[in-house]
């Protein structure tokens, strides 16, 4: 099936004017599948890390949200072991006015402001609530171990 114009345009714009700290490029086999990299925001425990994600545009995009998942392991209360992300705009708060770019910016923002009160990974969230300093240290360790070399 032909690729909708919107996807072509979004792809062109993502490549021509990437958002700071974010890159997204379509895979050669499937123009709906994007390889994404997000740089850990400075002043977050993920600073210095480079995070790989996959993003897939389902058939009914943009009426349905893109499916996004972290491929790089990350210690974050709203991201689980499988890399699934707890973010309202990827679920019930999706709007077709949002785009790949805005989704990735939102994920980047989520790295800067973890929300342990709406956890996806209960263990991580509990540690975040009970001992934030040690949680942040664990997140920094994971950044060093998993996000700072070629994985």
């Amino acid at each position: 099936m032909a690729l909708p114009k919107r996807i072509i345009k979004e792809t062109q714009r993502l490549l021509a004017e990437p958002a700071p700290g974010i890159s997204a490029s379509p895979s050669e086999e499937n123009a709906r599948y994007f390889n994404v990299m997000i740089i850990g925001p400075s002043t977050s425990p993920y600073e210095g890390g480079v995070y790989k994600l996959e993003l897939y545009l389902p058939e009914d995009y943009p009426m349905a949200a893109p499916k996004v998942r972290f491929l790089t392991k990350i210690y974050h209360p709203n991201i689980d072991k499988l890399g699934r992300i707890c973010l309202d705009i990827l679920k019930d708060k999706w709007s077709p006015a949002l785009q790949i770019r805005t989704v990735l910016l939102s994920i980047q923002a989520l790295l800067s402001s973890p929300n342990p009160d709406d956890p996806l990974d209960e263990n991580v969230a509990r540690q975040w609530r009970e001992d934030e300093n040690s949680a942040i240290n664990t997140a920094k360790d994971w950044t060093r171990i998993y996000a700072m070399q070629d994985n």
Binding site: K9, E17, P96, A97
Partner: protein, 332 residues
């Protein structure tokens, strides 16, 4: 609202020109929309006056029914973003309003302070605390300025207010009387003209007292505003605008996104066209021509709007459930 005559903003085409390419079309999703949407969205008729005036045809429940809406022409328009309050140079206790406006016919401007309007008196404005300055006459022109350039600055304060004479609460909001339905507005600015068809009948606005109830031969726009205090100075904030056309009052409603809709879509690198709001937010290809109601976000092309109706039926911008669609054909 802009001054360009190519856009159907506050000055829309008269209905009686069937060949006119401009137009508003309500696409109705099978429910009975409020009367306002039958009459051209931007104008919400006032309660008691409106319903009987509109043809209420029985409507089949089939979705996506399209019907041509009524559009009305508004000859006078104060551009609300230009309204400012200026401190008088000779008497710093006085603040007077400045603004620009368009008039398609010769018009008069009157400024009222602490004016009371009741819902049953054809927009009559009563003033008891401060009498309105005399009417200021203007010739037909786009981009008129108030106060007029030929007015002596010593006269400006006739059109001004001394905020210190009032309590802050009187200045900062419209005071509503729940029983009578009356409102007292801190500032009202009324632009009035004689409708073109009646110009030969020897009607003279000057013969009427300032603030009198509207007549069927008058076309007017009234801007209702309040004052806002900033430390030691004051500014003005527009609360609403109403027009009087063909013996009916309508409240003006803004369409969000109309400003950019008519211009061509920018292409190529260095043009963040997706942020400028000219293309449909869903397909990102077609120009925006459809406004969602009731939230008035003009963000979609008509095809995507139809599709949205069948699916989420929520505004992509604000997520308000969509009740009907208004398709606007822009004149190029």
């Amino acid at each position: 609202m802009g001054s360009s005559s190519s856009r159907p903003q506050t000055r829309t085409r008269p209905v009686t020109r069937p060949n006119d390419p401009s137009g508003f079309t309500v696409v109705n999703g099978g429910h009975q929309p409020p009367a306002v949407y039958n009459s051209g969205v931007q104008y919400a008729p006032q309660q008691q006056q409106a319903p009987a005036q509109y043809p209420q045809q029985p409507r089949p429940p089939a979705p996506a029914e399209k019907k041509k809406t009524k559009t009305i022409r508004n000859d006078v328009n104060l551009k609300k973003h230009t309204l400012k309050l200026v401190q008088d140079e000779s008497d710093p206790s006085v603040y007077y309003p400045t603004f620009t406006f368009d008039c398609g016919s010769p018009c008069s401007v009157t400024v009222f302070f602490m004016a009371t309007e009741s819902p049953s008196e054809k927009l009559r404005l009563r003033t008891s605390l401060q009498s309105p300055g005399r009417r200021v006459q203007y010739d037909k022109k786009l981009g008129c300025v108030f106060p007029p350039e030929d007015m002596d600055p010593s006269e400006y304060k006739q059109y001004g207010i001394v905020p210190a004479l009032y309590a802050d609460s009187q200045l900062s909001s419209a005071e509503a009387n729940e029983d009578s339905g009356e409102h007292r507005w801190p500032i009202c600015i009324r632009l009035e003209c004689v409708v073109a068809e009646e110009a030969l009948e020897d009607h003279k606005l000057g013969d009427l007292p300032a603030g009198c109830g509207m007549r069927d031969w008058i076309q007017s726009q009234t801007t209702y505003a309040c004052l806002e205090r900033h430390e030691t100075t004051w500014s003005v904030k527009v609360l609403k605008q109403k027009i009087w056309v063909q013996n009916l009052a309508y409240e003006l409603q803004e369409i969000y996104g109309l400003e950019n809709a008519g211009t061509p879509v920018a292409e190529g690198p260095g043009q963040p066209s997706d942020d400028l709001g000219r293309e449909c937010v869903i397909c990102m290809s077609e120009p925006r021509d459809t406004t969602l109601l009731p939230c008035r976000h003009m963000c979609l092309c008509h095809e995507c709007a139809q599709m949205l109706r069948q699916q989420t039926n929520k505004c992509p911008i604000c997520r308000t459930p969509v009740r009907s669609l208004l398709e606007i054909t822009l004149k190029t």
